[in-house]
C-alpha cells in the first residue's frame, strides 16, 4: 500500500474528560485515557485566572517516552464535545468555544503561564465555554456528556524552519 503518511502524528494524550459529582455535591473533573497523570479545575487568581467550571489543567504523565513535557509549537490537538440527552435539542451541546493552551508546573500545585525553559510545558489547559453566556462551562448536564481530547506531538519537518510569504502565491514568473 502506498505510504501517504508524510506528516506523521504521534499521540501522547488521548482520553475523555467527564464531570463527576460525588457525595459531597461538589463536581470535579475526571480523565479516562492515556498520557495524563492528574486533572484539576484551574483555580481562580494568579497566575492563570481560572474559571473553575469548564477550565481544566491536565498534567502530562511523566512516565511517557520522550519526557513528554511538550514544546508548545509542536502541540497538535482536538477537542470534541459529547452531546447531551437532557438538552432541549437532544444530543446537542451549547459549548461552541473550545481552546487549549500550554502551561507548566515546576512543582506540585504550582503553575505558571507558558512553558519553562529547558522543560517545556508539562501541563495542558483546556477551556470550554458558551459564547451566548460568555462563561466557561462544564460539558455536563444539559451542556454535554464529556469532552474527548487527543494531543499529538507534530514532529515532521525541520524544527526551526519558518518563513513569511508575501502573496500572491503562484504568481506568474516574469521572463526576459
Amino acid at each position: 500500500m502506498t505510504d501517504y503518511a508524510a506528516a506523521p502524528s504521534e499521540p501522547i494524550v488521548q482520553g475523555l474528560i467527564t464531570i463527576m459529582t460525588p457525595q459531597t455535591g461538589l463536581p470535579f473533573p475526571s480523565f479516562s485515557g492515556c498520557g495524563v497523570s492528574s486533572i484539576i479545575r484551574t483555580p481562580p487568581g494568579l497566575p492563570l485566572f481560572g474559571n473553575l467550571a469548564g477550565d481544566y489543567l491536565l498534567t502530562l504523565d511523566e512516565g511517557l517516552p520522550g519526557d513528554v513535557a511538550i514544546d508548545p509549537i509542536f502541540g497538535r490537538s482536538f477537542l470534541t464535545i459529547r452531546g447531551s440527552l437532557s438538552n432541549p435539542i437532544h444530543l446537542s451541546t451549547p459549548i461552541d468555544q473550545k481552546s487549549i493552551s500550554y502551561v507548566a508546573s515546576p512543582s506540585p500545585g504550582v503553575f505558571v503561564a507558558g512553558p519553562l525553559p529547558g522543560i517545556g510545558s508539562n501541563v495542558v489547559r483546556v477551556v470550554l465555554a458558551v459564547s451566548a453566556t460568555g462563561l466557561a462551562t462544564d460539558p455536563d448536564g444539559t451542556d454535554g456528556s464529556g469532552c474527548e481530547i487527543v494531543i499529538w506531538r507534530g514532529n515532521a519537518g525541520p524544527d526551526s524552519y519558518s518563513t513569511n510569504l508575501t502573496g500572491p502565491l503562484f504568481a506568474p514568473t516574469l521572463i526576459g
Partner: protein, 163 residues
C-alpha cells in the same frame, strides 16, 4: 525519529458526510470507510431534533464496528465511564453560499455513541451527530449552512481514570 506515540489511537472511521436534497428531502451520504449506513432523523419535538446516525461497519478488523459501552472505575467513588474508547474529530466544510463566503453557520456539534438495536455483545454500533447554529437550532450541514462534514473516529486504547 524519536517515537513519541505513547497514547496510540486507531482510526476505525474516516469519511465525508454530505447532504443533498432528493425529492424534496435532505438526504445524507457518507463517502469513506468504516460506516455501513447513514440516516437522517427529524423528531417532531419543540425545538425539532435533526440527528445524523452513522452505523459502524461490522466487517472491520478487530471487531472495530462497535465501541465499548462502558468501563467501571473502582472508586471511591465507583463510576461508570461511558464509551471510554471513542474519540471523534469533526471538521465542518464551508459553504460558498454562506453569508460569510466559504464559512459555516454551525457553531457546535454534539457527538453521542449509542446502541440502536440491543443485542450482540452489548457494544455500541452507532455514532450520532447533532449540528446547531447560534439560534440555537438543529441544522443540516448543507448549503448555505455548510458543505459537509469531515469525520474521523478512533478507538483510544488502554489507560485508566485519573482525577
Amino acid at each position: 525519529m524519536t517515537d513519541y506515540a505513547a497514547a496510540p489511537i486507531q482510526p476505525i472511521v474516516q469519511g465525508l458526510l454530505t447532504v443533498a436534497v432528493v425529492a424534496g428531502t435532505p438526504t445524507p451520504t457518507f463517502m469513506g470507510k468504516g460506516v455501513s449506513s447513514v440516516t437522517r432523523t427529524v423528531t417532531p419535538t419543540v425545538p425539532p431534533d435533526i440527528i445524523y446516525t452513522l452505523i459502524l461497519d461490522e466487517g472491520l478488523p478487530g471487531n472495530a464496528g462497535e465501541l465499548q459501552p462502558s468501563q467501571l472505575i473502582v472508586g471511591p467513588p465507583a463510576v461508570l465511564i461511558p464509551q471510554p474508547d471513542a474519540r471523534t474529530l469533526i471538521n465542518i466544510r464551508g459553504s460558498l453560499l454562506n453569508s460569510v463566503i466559504g464559512g459555516t453557520s454551525i457553531v457546535a456539534t454534539g457527538v453521542t455513541y449509542a446502541q440502536p438495536t440491543p443485542g450482540g455483545d452489548g457494544g455500541f454500533t452507532a455514532v450520532l451527530f447533532v449540528f446547531t447554529d447560534t439560534t440555537p437550532a438543529a441544522v443540516d450541514p448543507m448549503d448555505p449552512v455548510a458543505s459537509g462534514v469531515e469525520i474521523i473516529i478512533w478507538k483510544g486504547l488502554g489507560g485508566g481514570a485519573v482525577a
